[in-house]
Symmetry: C2
Subunit: 287 residues, 2 copies
């Protein structure tokens, strides 16, 4: 009796995250066959030669990628890396995606991804947690790089994490920029780097804090918030001097390079533990 | 026995709002003596000749404006018009303002204004509602100008109002831009027009909705959200085709000009009633 080698399906969005998944998977299970779905203009070309099979689709297609994965014997799927929200807004859905969209009352990034996962499960796929093979890249609570935060910075970090968490409760975004106890910028769909640029400008070049969290009640099959050297570089250019990440729920890519950049630009980077459910809901908050 | 003419103190921020207060007050009480505090680079110069006494101070001064108002016999004060949040961030507080700031855990625009009001009341001033003399400029529920919203637009308007209200609950801002059920931009301290510009761009030029509300549990002594021709013009340039205001709690300046602009640019402008705690009921839909 022969056993076929296990097969992993990968839905590969932008950035380095899909590449990390593939490398982590190869390290742990060398015989793994990786079948990847990519998106034109989104998927990092570096991931392509690392997969056994790779095919590109348009954002908004559901039927064709499902068929492609099935044809290649995929049962387990990881979804990794984001899709530029601008492309989500201008997507051209196929019939199946259209029928999903029609049933959705709110069309934010979270609900879109959730709907895609539901459809994939109806097709018989199992969606694995997005941190599979990524555990070593998810910082635990504590200081990561750069100078230790001052007490004032620490206050802004805790405040920023709480505010960012409330923003995820509204399904809007996952980052805020804080400056001396004031939220100066909220990320909606413009992306973290654009939010950093705005928050830095609005802070009049004075040091500010980026707080980035996972969604409240985050479904770990979803794309996980990620930062890497580009985030640090953008922060350095825009007067952000502190980055607070949610411990155990955000991914830090290229840690060595990140540590160098934080040291060079005197950016304090640390991970905070945030209790998941016991924060007051917006309706509990005194006006 | 002689009766001195009544005196009104006016703390005049930016825009047309202080001018409207003065004109409304003069119409209702011609003998009123108006003593105004202004801010360099903020207060519209048009208001100056309309006041009996006017003096400019720096943002962040408290002691001197208080003395000035007292010396001029002021008991009742209206605070009208905003201060550019960038100037709030870079304010140079006098000793009294500094002691207020030190006691504040969160320094957002709401809490700053609240603290200023508390200090003013300690000094014996009475802060009148910011809508005093402005009632005629606060739209009641219904259609105001431009085309009637489509059912899809109406859904975005209701959703946007709810989301903007939640954002005020977090003391962040009062406006959001919505595009087909997605919040594409949240206003923090960049100001409504900058938020409109970002939301318009992110919507890829497709028609979007601006929803603007008063704070949840809004203290009516605070500056009231205001729109006027500049807002409409900015919306027209940025692909916003619908503006939803909170009925009875937002101020519409230069209504004639606003109506012309909405007609010209096919922008649907209407006011929605939003119950403080629940979403708007379907019956609020403008007929």
């Amino acid at each position: 009796m022969t056993t076929d080698p296990p097969v992993l399906g990968l839905v590969a969005g932008d950035g380095l995250y899909p590449e990390y998944i593939v490398r982590g998977a190869r390290r742990r299970t060398p015989e793994l066959r990786i079948v990847a779905v990519g998106f034109k203009g989104e998927t990092n070309p570096a991931v392509i030669p690392l997969c056994d099979v790779y095919k590109e689709f348009s954002v908004g297609q559901l039927s064709k990628p499902f068929s492609f994965l099935k044809k290649n014997g995929v049962q387990n799927v990881i979804m990794a890396g984001g899709i530029n929200p601008k492309n989500i807004l201008s997507l051209r859905p196929d019939l199946r995606a259209l029928s999903v969209l029609m049933r959705m009352p709110e069309k934010n990034a979270d609900s879109l991804l959730g709907a895609v996962i539901t459809e994939a499960e109806k097709e018989g796929f199992t969606i694995l947690p997005a941190f599979t093979y990524m555990e070593e890249h998810m910082p635990q609570p504590g200081h990561i790089a750069g100078p230790r935060p001052t007490p004032e910075q620490w206050e802004d970090a805790v405040f920023g994490m709480q505010m960012a968490k409330e923003i995820t409760r509204l399904h809007i975004g996952q980052s805020v920029i804080v400056h001396h106890g004031t939220v100066v910028a909220v990320e909606a769909i413009e992306g973290t780097n654009n939010c950093i640029r705005r928050g830095g400008e609005l802070g009049n070049g004075k040091p500010a804090t980026l707080a980035k969290v996972a969604r409240l009640g985050h479904d770990m099959r979803f794309d996980i918030p990620t930062i890497g050297p580009v985030t640090i570089q953008t922060c350095a250019e825009c007067g952000i001097r502190q980055i607070a990440l949610e411990a155990g729920k955000t991914i830090l890519l290229e840690r060595d390079r990140v540590e160098q950049l934080c040291k060079k630009h005197k950016i304090s980077l640390h991970a905070l533990q945030l209790p998941e459910q016991d924060g007051p809901s917006p309706s509990d908050r005194p006006a």
